[in-house]
Symmetry: D3
Subunit: 324 residues, 6 copies
């Protein structure tokens, strides 16, 4: 990999932290921030296509849904956060080479103050106000996409672990938050099988939930199937598949699925914002489907590429060839 290039991009990024635009290496926040010390935070990842942010509004809306459930007052409007995201893109676009895209991320926490039992007063200077923490970050996509490029053709590897998805009356996975240590535990188990594998979380009843950063989709007898929304993030990419499937007149079912369904799927794929879709090649070492990618997977990916005006697979392959 063109390590020097990525190192440069990585170092020269400009980010927004609580009102200031900072060079990457100065981007710090308080060790007292409750986003850290209470795991009290929400975030969203978007990506660009052709250097324009794709579905920014959808991500902001979902971010605001998370805020509502966790009762963080962001102290900022949806319009303002959109503006900041676009400014963040603008300030970092010059880092990108031909065909490169970038992720724009926002993170919101209640900030430093506001713990219970009346401690608030003395933590602030006189006249000072308590504010939410707002962070806007940019992450170049290329080094993420390069190792994934071959999976568009061969399919990626998915594995299971003993660690389960958190149930919705504890921490609902529909809240997009970093407070999810169980995913780190699952990753540590999965690494023993294959450090490049994607990790499928089962829910507490043995149903397929989602991968640690992906929604999962199966094709059985021409029907597209995906887990219900009970125990997963309501993925923006997931919504995109629902939209594309409707456009393509595909039959779609949201239902409880089990490992049996994945082993016996005709096709299976993952969806996530940075790479849109990846076909699944194997689950726990067992080959999934007869051809990878399967025809419906391919059709969805092609339609998605047309929609965004970028050959999604082609971009990953170009980047891998050029910068890999």
């Amino acid at each position: 990999m063109k390590v020097d290039l990525f190192r440069k991009q990585y170092r020269e990024r400009v980010v927004y932290v609580n009102g200031e635009w900072l060079p990457n290496y100065k981007a710090t926040f308080s060790i007292y921030d409750r986003g850290f010390t209470n795991g009290y935070n929400i975030y969203e990842y978007t990506r660009t296509f052709k250097k324009k942010i794709w579905q920014l509004q959808e991500h902001i809306n979902r971010g605001w849904q998370s805020l509502k459930v966790v009762r963080i007052d962001p102290g900022i409007s949806k319009e303002k956060i959109a503006q900041l995201c676009m400014e963040c893109l603008e300030r970092n676009t010059h880092l990108l080479n031909e065909q490169e895209d970038i992720q724009i991320i926002f993170e919101i926490t209640p900030g430093e103050y506001g713990l219970p039992h009346g401690r608030y007063e003395w933590e602030l200077s006189e006249g000072e106000q308590s504010n939410a923490t707002i962070i806007i970050k940019a992450e170049p996509l290329t080094p993420f996409l390069i190792p994934l490029a071959p999976f568009y053709t061969s399919g990626c590897n998915v594995v299971s672990t003993s660690i389960i998805q958190t149930p919705p009356h504890s921490r609902d996975p529909k809240i997009k938050t970093y407070s999810r240590l169980n995913q780190n535990l699952a990753e540590k188990e999965a690494e023993l099988i294959d450090p490049e594998a994607f990790i499928l979380m089962l829910d507490i009843h043995g149903n397929l939930a989602e991968c640690t950063g992906e929604s999962i989709w199966l094709v059985q007898d021409g029907v597209l199937k995906t887990p219900t929304q009970r125990n997963i993030l309501r993925g923006v990419s997931r919504s995109n598949i629902l939209y594309l499937a409707k456009k393509l007149n595909l039959n779609v079912v949201e239902c409880n699925l089990q490992q049996w369904d994945l082993y016996n799927a005709d096709e299976a794929f993952l969806t996530s914002t940075p790479y849109c879709m990846l076909p699944i090649g194997r689950y726990n070492g067992v080959s999934i489907g007869e051809n990878v990618p399967g025809p419906i997977t391919q059709q969805l990916l092609d339609t998605w590429s047309e929609w965004v005006g970028v050959d999604i697979k082609g971009q990953a392959e170009y980047l891998a060839k050029t910068y890999g």
Copy 2:
């Protein structure tokens, strides 16, 4: 409350962040730290008695148990962390007035790097190494203890919510981590009843688990009862009660308890590092026991006070009277 005093203490603290001792207002860390962006962290709170750290070794040992399960390599020995904690105390002791004590906290994360899929290389400069983040903080106890002082006499209020404890095959509560958003959700529900109430988490089967920062104890027919270790933190203060109960020849049982048991307890109390023990006065508005604190609760608190050489209740009341 003597707000100015606390504000001064709060502002003038010195903390340790990754090798440096910093004034409080400069204590920041990278927005890319995985302790934040993956909820990947562990921490421990200790407190002083007579301005000496109490049971530092017990807390370090438990911290190292958490590290082992989450597979963070701290890159530092137990001896070194003990040294840093003691240095942190020393650097902040001058802030404390008569009878005041302080909390010394350590927090460990894997640091900034090490994400999956081979991204590691370009995130570091040539020759640079990836290191864990180590933070040592000091938090003066007085403003925490002041509002609790009356509860030693009247008993505190405990309430239940609809949010449950995370099950152990998702995120085991025996791991002491900030990655616990469900507690924030429970707090938001509990605030509707009483913003000063302590919040009892039930486990997924309707058993009492623990409060959001406390272990719970009941006395029934002279027997001391507390939930099993399945779904709770193995509290250091909880171990202290087991130790004191043995010393006092009290019969102790760890078993599954339900809300019925709390409503009908003869006595009930909470334990936690900063205030050691607090009698429970009411649960969901129902008075618990005939006298608060009950005789066994009182006996345990007295013995604990002797053990540490500080009148625990007396200290809180003195602080409330003097600085409240």
Copy 3:
């Protein structure tokens, strides 16, 4: 409130108990009735519109479904119970003022006898037969509707508790029975937040089930959503919404919903026989939707009013203004 009026109505009601029409104050039944001493009973509530019983047949049919599952032989035909209900209305109609309506209730238990182990014989006199207990009651609606009237405009408050719905292999909530102490426990918790709040029961897996006397409905992106029938009463009003939604070409989905869905609903409302529909204003203190009532809620209520020929909201407001 016009207390004297309600007191008079309350006192002068005529009720049916096992073959006799009695003035209200003489309406008693045996303390040995198994409807009480085994919690062995079923019941149904109907209401009138324009002083005619609405959907009496639907309620009788559902009552007979409950009887079948609990194996009580009512010793009476559906036709006869309908007749008795209509007679009960007739005997009480004179108590109602202009625009007032009334609830007609029937309750069935196996009666006094029939315990296991052959005890039956000596409990009856020679030649006597064991009969089911049949009670028909009338409850004027006005004092119930008055406090609800403002909620048609402002939305009602819904809160959660730690007490869960009974699972279907224990006591299926599809059986309409008074044997439901868990609802009393939930009410006692909810009162601590707001004595006027409606109480949402979660099922054992953290899904929304129903309120203690209401079905719950959400609108998300134009789709009407309601919990599946697994863990709820198959409400007659719930069926009415399904009927009206079909008539209005609304998209309806029965699925597992979680608290996240309620917090983020565009609209939400409750349904129940006495007041038909009430918009939800807040859940656990969080405002639901942008406008209360939302447009689909309003549309359903309007269509329902047309259907029954009574302005449902208008009636409540008139009653509140006139008798409140």
Copy 4:
């Protein structure tokens, strides 16, 4: 059976209902009582030995524990209820023949009024107060004991069903209440196998809980085992076994037990107030143990008989022979 005798006893009983002593056939209460219409009630059964109430205080204490959890204010002291129970015994003792004993029962409900949403005022006459309902009943034991008499020798039959015990975060079985329709459902299934069988409830996880009116006990390798208190009534007879076992130096364990344990028990028995103990002969048609009753069962029964000064088995057999 001497049906005429029992019929006479049954008819001539005197009972207490809300302040009045009534002949049995006049013992009624309001059809509006919330003990019926909300399943909102608690109760206790005691029995006499030699025509004196046995462990009345233990039953009153447990009744008061139930009241506390369900938040019913009985409006009466423990002393007063004890007095009423003893008066009830006195008023009915003349009905008993030689060696006959009787059950004294108390039942408490919140009475008629006090529903939510401010309906209270108009339900009461001016100046009237809302009071709890207090019922004291007497039930001659003989007709209950007669069919059980042979089981002391042959062992009773226990069967399982598909209906489970209600979980403790719904309706905790530690609350002694008639609000337990699930038991009626289980009885209806069990009748298909054997109408005289006792019915074992499993909890939601497949552990043995209790029979519909009995605690269950196993002996394995000389150790007495019984389910934990999580999902059962804390039986007074259960406590008696714990007391007697201690006296006899028997090893006792409270733990989760499964059907396997019952099938393979060396001995098994049930305990309940009216008959104290009954050995189990078969579970789901499979013989339990080699000899019925087993030696530890016999020893416990003998010691219990000595304790109460009545040959428990002998009394049942005498009654069966004399009045059966």
Copy 5:
């Protein structure tokens, strides 16, 4: 029954075991076969209509799905297994009389070898290879169908037990395997009620799953309902009903159903390969529906009969009359 006839058929069957066609009485396999000693096997049952195998391909496909999940390599193609099944039919057809049909069964295990920890080598002779075990069997249908014949008219009896379906993250019932001891346990409980009853398994949450060899179907308000695929075999006969229902324009719903739904169904029936469909007459002793078979059940059975060109009910009745 014409016992001698059946005995003759039973004895003279020819079966295939690992490459050889054997007379029935010589059909044995190794006691070391892992299909026995690890419960490691899959199987499929097909039946003939007019002495031709019906839906052989569907059964082979499902068998291959089971093989994939359990990771047995059959060492044989789908085509070859089809050929063997047809050969098995051919070799046994002469045993059948007029209107008689037969079941053709295949069973696959990994064979004798291949245990973990490198034991493989010494279990085989030099040069020998480890092969899967393939068994093809024939079972004349007549003696199975005779006792079922009256149920087409009267409905069969279905009962519940305390034994639950195995959850899908333990042994998914979608895998068709003999490794299902829980069904034997359920049968032993059910025999206590009625040795001819069909046995309904509930899943771990109290939902209807399936009978020990049958799928279950309900009709409610004209809608055909059946449990979801989460916890059941994906029955070939179940697929046939879905196909026929579509052809007949019936509304079909796959959803969670509970015992309430079965008790209150308008019609209910079972499906299974050997007898296609049987109406349910009673569940736990309670009559189901008003007429048995119900009109939709009858319509489906008629259409199925047309489809296969055999009067399914007529055949059973003819066989019962002729050979019963």
Copy 6:
């Protein structure tokens, strides 16, 4: 490995099948045996020390407990099965070399007949009786022990999978049966990590249950801990540890344990009949304890060796050195 030696032993064994002693290669049983076609079987493994069967009676007793729960009538006494096991040993002892031991196994199924619905009659010849199948087998231990020998020093590797233990109201693991396909599924997942690893099954609530053929033990702070009997086999070797621990005055606790407990154990080991005890070296790649084997593990193994008069570890090492 001395493959030729093992091959010879393997081939020349004599086994008992339903009344006959057969050379190994002729040891077959009917493909219709319900031990295979219904997964309806129980079995026991014993081993010799110094060529005498160790604890044969304990294994027979447990076998008879399994028979009782599954309701198989073995048609043979405990004494007779003991005799057959000893005869099996005698007939195979000549195969063993110096220091070699052997496993004697018995397996019982209901045999071929006895299916429901009256099919029994025609499956038997006139006058023939239906009998249980009894198999007695011998398996030389050497090739099993050789690969395990190094683990006495280095500790074995234990891994987790997504496949859970079957719950006790489905198939209770206390029944020792081959009907356990879920273990094969778990093994297939575990092989992806390490084909030599032992596989830890979690129960449905995330507690440690047992390995696929082993009980698990932890040492924490000097206390020996092991899972409760709820969801595991009541291992004979497990009982031996309880016996030895008592002899050594070790504190032992049976309780619910989670993965945290294993990661943080001071020592951990497995027990099973063939090798008695093995220290655990790693769990999911994480080192367990500071020294392997830990002091308590070593002490138990030493005492066990004394008890049986064989140096257990020494034997394995001798065999590995001599025949490996």
